[in-house]
Symmetry: C3
Subunit: 185 residues, 3 copies
Protein backbone atom coordinates (compact mmCIF):
# COMPACT_ATOMS: atom_id res chain seq x y z
CA UNK A 1 0.00 0.00 0.00
CA UNK A 2 2.85 2.34 0.84
CA UNK A 3 4.50 1.42 -2.44
CA UNK A 4 1.34 2.15 -4.40
CA UNK A 5 1.09 5.57 -2.77
CA UNK A 6 4.64 6.36 -3.83
CA UNK A 7 4.03 5.34 -7.45
CA UNK A 8 0.93 7.47 -7.45
CA UNK A 9 2.85 10.49 -6.17
CA UNK A 10 5.50 9.98 -8.84
CA UNK A 11 2.82 9.86 -11.53
CA UNK A 12 1.20 13.12 -10.35
CA UNK A 13 4.64 14.63 -10.16
CA UNK A 14 5.48 13.74 -13.77
CA UNK A 15 2.16 15.12 -15.02
CA UNK A 16 2.74 18.43 -13.24
CA UNK A 17 6.32 18.73 -14.46
CA UNK A 18 5.21 18.08 -18.03
CA UNK A 19 2.53 20.73 -17.87
CA UNK A 20 5.09 23.11 -16.44
CA UNK A 21 7.36 22.43 -19.42
CA UNK A 22 4.53 23.05 -21.86
CA UNK A 23 3.57 26.37 -20.29
CA UNK A 24 7.18 27.50 -20.15
CA UNK A 25 7.45 27.06 -23.90
CA UNK A 26 4.12 28.28 -25.20
CA UNK A 27 3.43 31.52 -23.29
CA UNK A 28 -0.31 31.16 -23.93
CA UNK A 29 -1.50 32.94 -20.82
CA UNK A 30 -2.60 36.52 -21.08
CA UNK A 31 -0.87 38.64 -18.46
CA UNK A 32 -3.45 40.30 -16.23
CA UNK A 33 -1.57 43.54 -15.77
CA UNK A 34 1.63 45.29 -16.91
CA UNK A 35 4.86 44.65 -15.01
CA UNK A 36 5.59 48.37 -15.46
CA UNK A 37 3.50 51.35 -16.54
CA UNK A 38 4.43 54.95 -17.39
CA UNK A 39 2.37 57.86 -18.72
CA UNK A 40 4.41 60.37 -20.72
CA UNK A 41 3.77 63.27 -23.09
CA UNK A 42 5.39 63.73 -26.49
CA UNK A 43 5.78 67.23 -27.97
CA UNK A 44 6.47 67.79 -31.68
CA UNK A 45 7.35 71.22 -33.07
CA UNK A 46 7.64 70.92 -36.85
CA UNK A 47 10.23 73.00 -38.64
CA UNK A 48 8.43 75.59 -40.76
CA UNK A 49 10.63 76.36 -43.75
CA UNK A 50 9.10 79.72 -44.60
CA UNK A 51 9.00 81.29 -41.14
CA UNK A 52 12.24 80.39 -39.47
CA UNK A 53 11.51 78.57 -36.22
CA UNK A 54 14.74 76.60 -36.28
CA UNK A 55 15.61 77.48 -32.68
CA UNK A 56 12.41 75.84 -31.37
CA UNK A 57 11.81 73.18 -34.02
CA UNK A 58 12.31 69.58 -32.89
CA UNK A 59 11.40 67.85 -36.15
CA UNK A 60 11.65 68.38 -39.90
CA UNK A 61 10.13 66.98 -43.08
CA UNK A 62 12.96 65.41 -45.08
CA UNK A 63 10.97 63.81 -47.89
CA UNK A 64 9.95 64.74 -51.39
CA UNK A 65 6.31 63.72 -51.25
CA UNK A 66 4.09 63.99 -54.33
CA UNK A 67 1.46 66.64 -53.77
CA UNK A 68 -1.20 65.03 -55.89
CA UNK A 69 -1.94 61.98 -53.70
CA UNK A 70 -4.77 63.47 -51.68
CA UNK A 71 -4.74 66.40 -49.28
CA UNK A 72 -3.33 64.72 -46.18
CA UNK A 73 0.44 64.92 -46.66
CA UNK A 74 0.74 61.41 -48.11
CA UNK A 75 4.40 60.40 -48.01
CA UNK A 76 5.65 63.24 -45.81
CA UNK A 77 8.43 61.78 -43.65
CA UNK A 78 9.38 63.70 -40.51
CA UNK A 79 12.59 63.07 -38.54
CA UNK A 80 12.35 64.10 -34.90
CA UNK A 81 14.27 64.55 -31.66
CA UNK A 82 11.29 65.39 -29.47
CA UNK A 83 11.15 66.14 -25.74
CA UNK A 84 9.20 63.75 -23.50
CA UNK A 85 7.72 65.14 -20.30
CA UNK A 86 5.81 63.71 -17.37
CA UNK A 87 3.10 66.37 -17.58
CA UNK A 88 1.45 68.21 -20.47
CA UNK A 89 3.69 71.24 -20.22
CA UNK A 90 6.07 71.65 -23.15
CA UNK A 91 8.60 73.51 -21.02
CA UNK A 92 8.78 70.96 -18.19
CA UNK A 93 12.16 69.30 -17.81
CA UNK A 94 12.20 66.36 -20.25
CA UNK A 95 12.64 62.90 -18.72
CA UNK A 96 13.50 61.44 -22.13
CA UNK A 97 13.92 62.22 -25.82
CA UNK A 98 11.94 60.51 -28.56
CA UNK A 99 14.25 59.95 -31.54
CA UNK A 100 13.16 58.52 -34.88
CA UNK A 101 10.58 59.42 -37.50
CA UNK A 102 6.94 59.38 -38.51
CA UNK A 103 5.35 59.44 -41.93
CA UNK A 104 1.87 60.20 -43.25
CA UNK A 105 0.43 57.41 -45.35
CA UNK A 106 -3.21 57.96 -46.33
CA UNK A 107 -4.86 59.68 -49.27
CA UNK A 108 -8.28 60.12 -47.62
CA UNK A 109 -7.42 61.32 -44.09
CA UNK A 110 -4.56 62.05 -41.71
CA UNK A 111 -2.94 58.77 -40.72
CA UNK A 112 0.63 58.17 -39.60
CA UNK A 113 3.23 55.51 -38.90
CA UNK A 114 5.93 55.79 -36.22
CA UNK A 115 9.28 54.13 -35.54
CA UNK A 116 11.35 55.63 -32.75
CA UNK A 117 13.34 55.18 -29.58
CA UNK A 118 12.58 56.66 -26.18
CA UNK A 119 16.00 57.60 -24.78
CA UNK A 120 15.74 57.97 -21.00
CA UNK A 121 18.43 59.85 -19.14
CA UNK A 122 16.90 60.99 -15.87
CA UNK A 123 17.46 60.34 -12.21
CA UNK A 124 14.76 57.68 -12.41
CA UNK A 125 15.59 55.75 -15.59
CA UNK A 126 18.57 55.23 -17.85
CA UNK A 127 18.04 53.18 -20.98
CA UNK A 128 15.88 52.98 -24.09
CA UNK A 129 12.56 51.63 -25.35
CA UNK A 130 12.14 50.86 -29.06
CA UNK A 131 8.69 51.38 -30.56
CA UNK A 132 6.98 50.94 -33.91
CA UNK A 133 3.44 50.88 -35.20
CA UNK A 134 0.52 52.57 -36.88
CA UNK A 135 -0.84 55.84 -35.51
CA UNK A 136 -4.44 55.67 -36.76
CA UNK A 137 -5.13 59.30 -36.00
CA UNK A 138 -8.92 59.20 -36.30
CA UNK A 139 -9.21 56.64 -33.49
CA UNK A 140 -9.46 58.05 -29.98
CA UNK A 141 -6.73 55.64 -28.81
CA UNK A 142 -4.41 53.46 -30.86
CA UNK A 143 -1.83 50.87 -29.85
CA UNK A 144 1.75 50.57 -31.07
CA UNK A 145 4.27 47.86 -30.15
CA UNK A 146 7.20 48.22 -27.78
CA UNK A 147 9.53 45.76 -29.47
CA UNK A 148 12.63 45.96 -27.29
CA UNK A 149 14.53 47.83 -24.64
CA UNK A 150 17.96 48.37 -23.16
CA UNK A 151 19.47 49.54 -19.86
CA UNK A 152 16.80 49.79 -17.16
CA UNK A 153 14.35 48.46 -19.75
CA UNK A 154 16.58 45.53 -20.75
CA UNK A 155 14.72 43.21 -23.18
CA UNK A 156 11.33 44.79 -22.39
CA UNK A 157 8.26 44.29 -24.57
CA UNK A 158 4.81 45.82 -24.38
CA UNK A 159 2.25 48.16 -25.87
CA UNK A 160 2.09 51.96 -25.95
CA UNK A 161 -1.33 53.58 -26.31
CA UNK A 162 -1.35 56.94 -28.12
CA UNK A 163 -4.03 59.56 -27.68
CA UNK A 164 -3.96 63.03 -29.24
CA UNK A 165 -3.68 65.56 -26.46
CA UNK A 166 -3.34 68.80 -28.45
CA UNK A 167 -3.01 69.93 -32.09
CA UNK A 168 -2.08 73.44 -33.20
CA UNK A 169 -2.20 73.34 -37.00
CA UNK A 170 0.81 71.62 -38.54
CA UNK A 171 3.20 73.43 -36.20
CA UNK A 172 2.71 71.63 -32.89
CA UNK A 173 1.03 68.52 -31.57
CA UNK A 174 1.16 66.66 -28.29
CA UNK A 175 0.52 62.95 -27.78
CA UNK A 176 -0.22 61.19 -24.52
CA UNK A 177 1.75 57.95 -24.46
CA UNK A 178 0.51 55.31 -22.03
CA UNK A 179 3.41 52.85 -21.87
CA UNK A 180 2.62 49.34 -20.59
CA UNK A 181 5.35 46.72 -20.37
CA UNK A 182 4.20 43.08 -20.19
CA UNK A 183 7.63 41.46 -20.40
CA UNK A 184 10.17 42.74 -17.86
CA UNK A 185 13.50 41.19 -17.04
CA UNK B 1 15.57 1.09 2.58
CA UNK B 2 12.35 3.05 2.60
CA UNK B 3 14.28 6.10 3.76
CA UNK B 4 16.80 5.69 0.94
CA UNK B 5 13.98 5.50 -1.58
CA UNK B 6 12.54 8.76 -0.31
CA UNK B 7 15.87 10.60 -0.52
CA UNK B 8 16.29 9.30 -4.03
CA UNK B 9 12.86 10.57 -5.03
CA UNK B 10 13.62 13.98 -3.55
CA UNK B 11 16.87 14.11 -5.53
CA UNK B 12 15.15 13.31 -8.82
CA UNK B 13 12.51 15.83 -7.94
CA UNK B 14 15.05 18.62 -7.38
CA UNK B 15 16.84 17.83 -10.64
CA UNK B 16 13.57 17.99 -12.59
CA UNK B 17 12.46 21.22 -10.94
CA UNK B 18 15.82 22.81 -11.70
CA UNK B 19 15.68 21.82 -15.34
CA UNK B 20 12.15 23.20 -15.45
CA UNK B 21 13.39 26.54 -14.10
CA UNK B 22 16.18 26.66 -16.63
CA UNK B 23 13.88 25.96 -19.55
CA UNK B 24 11.37 28.52 -18.34
CA UNK B 25 14.06 31.18 -18.48
CA UNK B 26 16.01 30.28 -21.59
CA UNK B 27 13.34 29.37 -24.14
CA UNK B 28 15.69 26.99 -25.90
CA UNK B 29 13.09 24.69 -27.39
CA UNK B 30 11.99 25.22 -30.95
CA UNK B 31 8.21 25.37 -31.20
CA UNK B 32 6.95 22.64 -33.46
CA UNK B 33 4.23 24.65 -35.12
CA UNK B 34 2.75 28.17 -35.16
CA UNK B 35 0.07 29.07 -32.63
CA UNK B 36 -1.65 30.97 -35.46
CA UNK B 37 -1.21 31.04 -39.23
CA UNK B 38 -2.69 33.32 -41.92
CA UNK B 39 -2.03 33.55 -45.67
CA UNK B 40 -2.66 37.01 -47.09
CA UNK B 41 -1.90 38.90 -50.30
CA UNK B 42 -0.36 42.37 -50.49
CA UNK B 43 -1.03 44.62 -53.50
CA UNK B 44 1.16 47.62 -54.30
CA UNK B 45 0.21 50.16 -56.99
CA UNK B 46 3.05 52.65 -57.29
CA UNK B 47 2.19 56.26 -58.07
CA UNK B 48 3.46 57.09 -61.55
CA UNK B 49 4.29 60.76 -61.61
CA UNK B 50 4.17 61.17 -65.37
CA UNK B 51 0.91 59.38 -66.11
CA UNK B 52 -1.49 60.39 -63.39
CA UNK B 53 -2.77 57.29 -61.63
CA UNK B 54 -3.38 59.03 -58.35
CA UNK B 55 -6.90 57.62 -57.98
CA UNK B 56 -5.60 54.04 -57.97
CA UNK B 57 -2.12 54.50 -56.55
CA UNK B 58 -1.56 53.08 -53.05
CA UNK B 59 2.12 54.00 -52.68
CA UNK B 60 4.58 56.70 -53.68
CA UNK B 61 8.31 57.25 -53.87
CA UNK B 62 9.18 60.08 -51.47
CA UNK B 63 12.97 59.97 -51.67
CA UNK B 64 15.65 61.74 -53.63
CA UNK B 65 17.77 58.78 -54.60
CA UNK B 66 21.01 59.21 -56.52
CA UNK B 67 20.65 57.76 -60.01
CA UNK B 68 24.23 56.72 -60.41
CA UNK B 69 24.33 53.91 -57.81
CA UNK B 70 23.50 51.05 -60.13
CA UNK B 71 20.35 50.39 -62.11
CA UNK B 72 18.11 48.94 -59.42
CA UNK B 73 16.57 52.00 -57.75
CA UNK B 74 19.14 52.11 -54.93
CA UNK B 75 17.77 54.36 -52.20
CA UNK B 76 14.21 54.69 -53.52
CA UNK B 77 11.93 54.88 -50.47
CA UNK B 78 8.25 54.11 -51.02
CA UNK B 79 5.53 54.98 -48.49
CA UNK B 80 2.44 52.78 -48.81
CA UNK B 81 -1.11 52.23 -47.61
CA UNK B 82 -1.71 48.96 -49.42
CA UNK B 83 -4.77 46.70 -49.43
CA UNK B 84 -4.42 43.20 -48.01
CA UNK B 85 -6.74 40.51 -49.34
CA UNK B 86 -7.37 36.86 -48.56
CA UNK B 87 -7.14 35.84 -52.23
CA UNK B 88 -5.01 37.03 -55.15
CA UNK B 89 -7.66 39.36 -56.52
CA UNK B 90 -6.80 43.06 -56.18
CA UNK B 91 -10.45 44.05 -56.05
CA UNK B 92 -11.50 41.63 -53.30
CA UNK B 93 -12.64 43.31 -50.09
CA UNK B 94 -9.49 44.02 -48.07
CA UNK B 95 -9.25 42.36 -44.65
CA UNK B 96 -6.44 44.69 -43.62
CA UNK B 97 -4.25 47.58 -44.74
CA UNK B 98 -0.45 47.41 -44.83
CA UNK B 99 0.92 50.79 -43.73
CA UNK B 100 4.59 51.71 -43.70
CA UNK B 101 7.38 51.80 -46.27
CA UNK B 102 9.89 49.83 -48.28
CA UNK B 103 13.19 50.88 -49.77
CA UNK B 104 15.50 49.47 -52.44
CA UNK B 105 19.05 48.96 -51.23
CA UNK B 106 21.26 47.14 -53.72
CA UNK B 107 23.47 48.33 -56.55
CA UNK B 108 23.68 44.98 -58.37
CA UNK B 109 20.08 43.71 -58.26
CA UNK B 110 16.59 44.44 -56.99
CA UNK B 111 16.56 44.01 -53.23
CA UNK B 112 14.28 45.67 -50.70
CA UNK B 113 13.73 46.29 -46.99
CA UNK B 114 10.29 46.60 -45.34
CA UNK B 115 8.95 48.07 -42.12
CA UNK B 116 5.17 48.21 -41.82
CA UNK B 117 2.06 47.49 -39.81
CA UNK B 118 -0.80 45.21 -40.83
CA UNK B 119 -3.90 47.05 -39.61
CA UNK B 120 -6.78 44.56 -39.36
CA UNK B 121 -10.32 45.85 -39.21
CA UNK B 122 -12.54 43.01 -40.36
CA UNK B 123 -15.28 40.88 -38.84
CA UNK B 124 -12.61 38.31 -38.01
CA UNK B 125 -9.75 40.36 -36.55
CA UNK B 126 -9.24 43.76 -35.02
CA UNK B 127 -5.70 44.79 -34.15
CA UNK B 128 -2.27 45.15 -35.66
CA UNK B 129 0.90 43.19 -36.45
CA UNK B 130 4.23 45.03 -36.71
CA UNK B 131 6.76 43.67 -39.19
CA UNK B 132 10.29 44.45 -40.31
CA UNK B 133 13.00 42.74 -42.31
CA UNK B 134 14.88 42.22 -45.53
CA UNK B 135 13.01 41.33 -48.72
CA UNK B 136 15.74 39.51 -50.64
CA UNK B 137 13.84 39.59 -53.90
CA UNK B 138 15.92 37.06 -55.82
CA UNK B 139 15.14 34.31 -53.29
CA UNK B 140 11.97 32.32 -53.95
CA UNK B 141 10.90 32.82 -50.33
CA UNK B 142 12.32 35.12 -47.68
CA UNK B 143 11.51 35.56 -44.01
CA UNK B 144 10.84 38.82 -42.15
CA UNK B 145 10.19 39.23 -38.42
CA UNK B 146 6.86 39.92 -36.78
CA UNK B 147 8.12 41.93 -33.83
CA UNK B 148 4.92 42.81 -32.01
CA UNK B 149 1.15 43.01 -32.12
CA UNK B 150 -1.84 44.69 -30.55
CA UNK B 151 -5.58 44.02 -30.13
CA UNK B 152 -6.43 40.47 -31.24
CA UNK B 153 -2.71 39.98 -31.84
CA UNK B 154 -1.68 41.33 -28.43
CA UNK B 155 2.08 40.88 -27.88
CA UNK B 156 2.40 38.43 -30.79
CA UNK B 157 5.74 37.48 -32.35
CA UNK B 158 6.55 35.36 -35.36
CA UNK B 159 7.81 35.16 -38.90
CA UNK B 160 6.22 36.21 -42.19
CA UNK B 161 7.39 34.48 -45.37
CA UNK B 162 7.22 36.60 -48.53
CA UNK B 163 6.98 35.18 -52.03
CA UNK B 164 6.51 37.24 -55.17
CA UNK B 165 3.14 36.41 -56.66
CA UNK B 166 3.00 38.88 -59.58
CA UNK B 167 5.03 41.75 -61.01
CA UNK B 168 3.82 44.15 -63.71
CA UNK B 169 6.76 46.45 -64.38
CA UNK B 170 7.26 49.05 -61.67
CA UNK B 171 3.54 49.82 -61.56
CA UNK B 172 2.12 46.83 -59.67
CA UNK B 173 3.35 43.90 -57.67
CA UNK B 174 1.69 41.34 -55.43
CA UNK B 175 3.30 39.47 -52.56
CA UNK B 176 2.01 36.36 -50.86
CA UNK B 177 2.52 36.78 -47.12
CA UNK B 178 2.51 33.59 -45.08
CA UNK B 179 2.12 34.81 -41.51
CA UNK B 180 3.14 32.41 -38.74
CA UNK B 181 2.89 33.45 -35.10
CA UNK B 182 4.97 31.45 -32.60
CA UNK B 183 4.22 33.54 -29.52
CA UNK B 184 0.52 34.11 -28.83
CA UNK B 185 -0.96 35.51 -25.66
CA UNK C 1 5.62 9.72 11.16
CA UNK C 2 6.16 8.29 7.70
CA UNK C 3 2.79 9.70 6.65
CA UNK C 4 3.70 13.14 7.98
CA UNK C 5 6.93 13.07 5.99
CA UNK C 6 5.00 12.29 2.83
CA UNK C 7 2.54 15.15 3.35
CA UNK C 8 5.44 17.46 3.97
CA UNK C 9 7.11 16.37 0.75
CA UNK C 10 3.89 16.95 -1.18
CA UNK C 11 3.59 20.44 0.28
CA UNK C 12 7.15 21.39 -0.73
CA UNK C 13 6.47 19.90 -4.12
CA UNK C 14 3.34 22.03 -4.67
CA UNK C 15 5.15 25.21 -3.60
CA UNK C 16 8.00 24.53 -6.01
CA UNK C 17 5.67 23.70 -8.91
CA UNK C 18 3.69 26.89 -8.29
CA UNK C 19 6.81 29.04 -8.29
CA UNK C 20 7.89 27.31 -11.47
CA UNK C 21 4.56 28.22 -13.11
CA UNK C 22 4.89 31.84 -12.02
CA UNK C 23 8.40 32.17 -13.38
CA UNK C 24 7.43 30.54 -16.66
CA UNK C 25 4.79 33.20 -17.20
CA UNK C 26 6.43 36.35 -15.95
CA UNK C 27 10.00 36.18 -17.21
CA UNK C 28 11.19 38.34 -14.34
CA UNK C 29 14.65 36.86 -14.00
CA UNK C 30 17.57 38.57 -15.63
CA UNK C 31 19.50 36.10 -17.75
CA UNK C 32 23.05 35.88 -16.50
CA UNK C 33 24.63 35.53 -19.90
CA UNK C 34 23.71 35.53 -23.59
CA UNK C 35 22.67 32.27 -25.25
CA UNK C 36 24.73 33.41 -28.25
CA UNK C 37 27.31 36.14 -28.79
CA UNK C 38 28.99 37.47 -31.95
CA UNK C 39 31.38 40.38 -32.50
CA UNK C 40 31.17 41.86 -35.98
CA UNK C 41 32.35 45.00 -37.80
CA UNK C 42 30.14 47.25 -39.94
CA UNK C 43 31.69 49.33 -42.73
CA UNK C 44 29.87 52.29 -44.28
CA UNK C 45 31.18 54.07 -47.39
CA UNK C 46 28.91 57.02 -48.11
CA UNK C 47 28.24 57.97 -51.71
CA UNK C 48 29.88 61.33 -52.39
CA UNK C 49 27.86 63.06 -55.09
CA UNK C 50 30.57 65.46 -56.22
CA UNK C 51 33.50 63.06 -56.49
CA UNK C 52 32.16 59.92 -58.05
CA UNK C 53 32.86 56.98 -55.73
CA UNK C 54 29.88 54.99 -56.92
CA UNK C 55 31.92 51.82 -57.46
CA UNK C 56 32.94 51.68 -53.79
CA UNK C 57 29.97 53.39 -52.14
CA UNK C 58 27.74 51.16 -50.02
CA UNK C 59 25.27 53.83 -48.85
CA UNK C 60 23.61 57.00 -50.05
CA UNK C 61 21.72 59.94 -48.64
CA UNK C 62 18.21 59.87 -50.12
CA UNK C 63 16.59 62.67 -48.13
CA UNK C 64 15.96 66.35 -48.61
CA UNK C 65 17.06 67.61 -45.22
CA UNK C 66 16.75 71.28 -44.30
CA UNK C 67 20.18 72.80 -43.89
CA UNK C 68 19.23 75.33 -41.27
CA UNK C 69 18.52 72.93 -38.38
CA UNK C 70 21.97 72.97 -36.83
CA UNK C 71 25.26 71.78 -38.26
CA UNK C 72 24.99 68.04 -37.68
CA UNK C 73 23.07 66.78 -40.72
CA UNK C 74 19.68 66.83 -38.99
CA UNK C 75 17.26 64.79 -41.06
CA UNK C 76 19.80 63.20 -43.40
CA UNK C 77 18.53 59.68 -44.16
CA UNK C 78 21.04 57.18 -45.51
CA UNK C 79 20.06 53.88 -47.15
CA UNK C 80 22.77 51.23 -46.95
CA UNK C 81 23.83 47.77 -48.07
CA UNK C 82 26.98 47.54 -45.97
CA UNK C 83 29.50 44.70 -45.65
CA UNK C 84 29.86 43.01 -42.26
CA UNK C 85 33.20 41.40 -41.43
CA UNK C 86 34.60 39.39 -38.55
CA UNK C 87 37.69 41.58 -38.26
CA UNK C 88 38.31 45.30 -38.71
CA UNK C 89 39.54 44.97 -42.28
CA UNK C 90 37.18 46.46 -44.86
CA UNK C 91 38.37 44.06 -47.56
CA UNK C 92 37.92 40.86 -45.54
CA UNK C 93 35.31 38.50 -46.93
CA UNK C 94 31.96 39.67 -45.55
CA UNK C 95 30.06 37.18 -43.39
CA UNK C 96 26.85 39.21 -43.72
CA UNK C 97 25.32 42.34 -45.24
CA UNK C 98 23.66 45.05 -43.17
CA UNK C 99 20.62 46.33 -45.10
CA UNK C 100 18.42 49.21 -43.99
CA UNK C 101 18.96 52.85 -43.13
CA UNK C 102 20.15 55.34 -40.56
CA UNK C 103 19.22 58.96 -40.04
CA UNK C 104 20.75 61.88 -38.17
CA UNK C 105 18.38 63.50 -35.69
CA UNK C 106 20.01 66.14 -33.51
CA UNK C 107 20.54 69.86 -33.90
CA UNK C 108 23.32 70.18 -31.31
CA UNK C 109 25.57 67.18 -32.07
CA UNK C 110 25.93 64.08 -34.23
CA UNK C 111 23.34 61.54 -33.18
CA UNK C 112 21.78 58.80 -35.27
CA UNK C 113 18.98 56.23 -35.39
CA UNK C 114 19.26 52.82 -37.09
CA UNK C 115 16.81 50.25 -38.43
CA UNK C 116 18.33 47.39 -40.41
CA UNK C 117 18.66 43.70 -41.03
CA UNK C 118 21.82 41.62 -40.77
CA UNK C 119 21.55 39.16 -43.68
CA UNK C 120 23.90 36.22 -43.01
CA UNK C 121 24.90 33.98 -45.86
CA UNK C 122 28.11 32.27 -44.85
CA UNK C 123 29.26 28.75 -44.17
CA UNK C 124 28.54 29.36 -40.49
CA UNK C 125 25.13 31.09 -40.47
CA UNK C 126 22.18 31.47 -42.79
CA UNK C 127 19.36 33.75 -41.68
CA UNK C 128 18.68 37.28 -40.50
CA UNK C 129 18.66 39.46 -37.39
CA UNK C 130 16.42 42.54 -37.28
CA UNK C 131 17.69 45.52 -35.31
CA UNK C 132 16.47 48.99 -34.37
CA UNK C 133 17.45 51.68 -31.92
CA UNK C 134 19.20 54.92 -31.12
CA UNK C 135 22.89 55.35 -31.92
CA UNK C 136 23.86 57.98 -29.35
CA UNK C 137 27.17 58.73 -30.99
CA UNK C 138 28.77 60.69 -28.15
CA UNK C 139 28.51 57.71 -25.78
CA UNK C 140 31.42 55.29 -25.84
CA UNK C 141 29.01 52.37 -26.14
CA UNK C 142 25.27 52.37 -26.87
CA UNK C 143 22.72 49.59 -26.97
CA UNK C 144 20.16 48.89 -29.70
CA UNK C 145 17.49 46.17 -29.68
CA UNK C 146 17.55 42.95 -31.67
CA UNK C 147 13.82 42.57 -32.15
CA UNK C 148 13.58 39.39 -34.19
CA UNK C 149 15.37 36.84 -36.30
CA UNK C 150 14.87 34.19 -38.96
CA UNK C 151 16.65 31.07 -40.22
CA UNK C 152 19.51 30.10 -37.89
CA UNK C 153 18.41 33.01 -35.68
CA UNK C 154 14.74 31.96 -35.66
CA UNK C 155 12.73 34.18 -33.25
CA UNK C 156 15.89 35.53 -31.57
CA UNK C 157 15.89 38.63 -29.36
CA UNK C 158 18.73 40.50 -27.72
CA UNK C 159 20.87 43.60 -27.57
CA UNK C 160 23.61 44.87 -29.87
CA UNK C 161 26.22 47.20 -28.41
CA UNK C 162 27.70 49.71 -30.87
CA UNK C 163 31.09 51.35 -30.45
CA UNK C 164 32.73 53.61 -33.00
CA UNK C 165 35.83 51.91 -34.30
CA UNK C 166 36.94 54.39 -36.99
CA UNK C 167 35.73 57.60 -38.63
CA UNK C 168 37.25 59.14 -41.76
CA UNK C 169 35.28 62.35 -42.32
CA UNK C 170 31.82 61.76 -43.76
CA UNK C 171 33.15 59.24 -46.26
CA UNK C 172 33.80 56.15 -44.13
CA UNK C 173 33.04 54.91 -40.66
CA UNK C 174 33.33 51.56 -38.95
CA UNK C 175 31.26 50.31 -36.03
CA UNK C 176 32.03 47.41 -33.76
CA UNK C 177 28.80 45.51 -33.15
CA UNK C 178 28.76 43.26 -30.11
CA UNK C 179 25.69 41.08 -30.67
CA UNK C 180 24.23 39.34 -27.61
CA UNK C 181 21.15 37.14 -27.94
CA UNK C 182 19.21 36.45 -24.73
CA UNK C 183 16.31 34.59 -26.29
CA UNK C 184 17.31 31.67 -28.54
CA UNK C 185 15.01 28.99 -29.88
Amino acid sequence: MEKFSCYFKILIFIILITSCFLIANSKTLKPKKPCKQLVLYYHDILFNVTITNSANATSANVSNPPNVLGDYNFGMLVVFDDPITEDQNLVSTPVARAQGFYLYNMKSKYNAWFAYTLVFNSSEYCGTLNIMGADIIDQKTRDLSIVGGTGDFFMARGVVTFSTDAVEGLGYFRLKMDIKLYECY
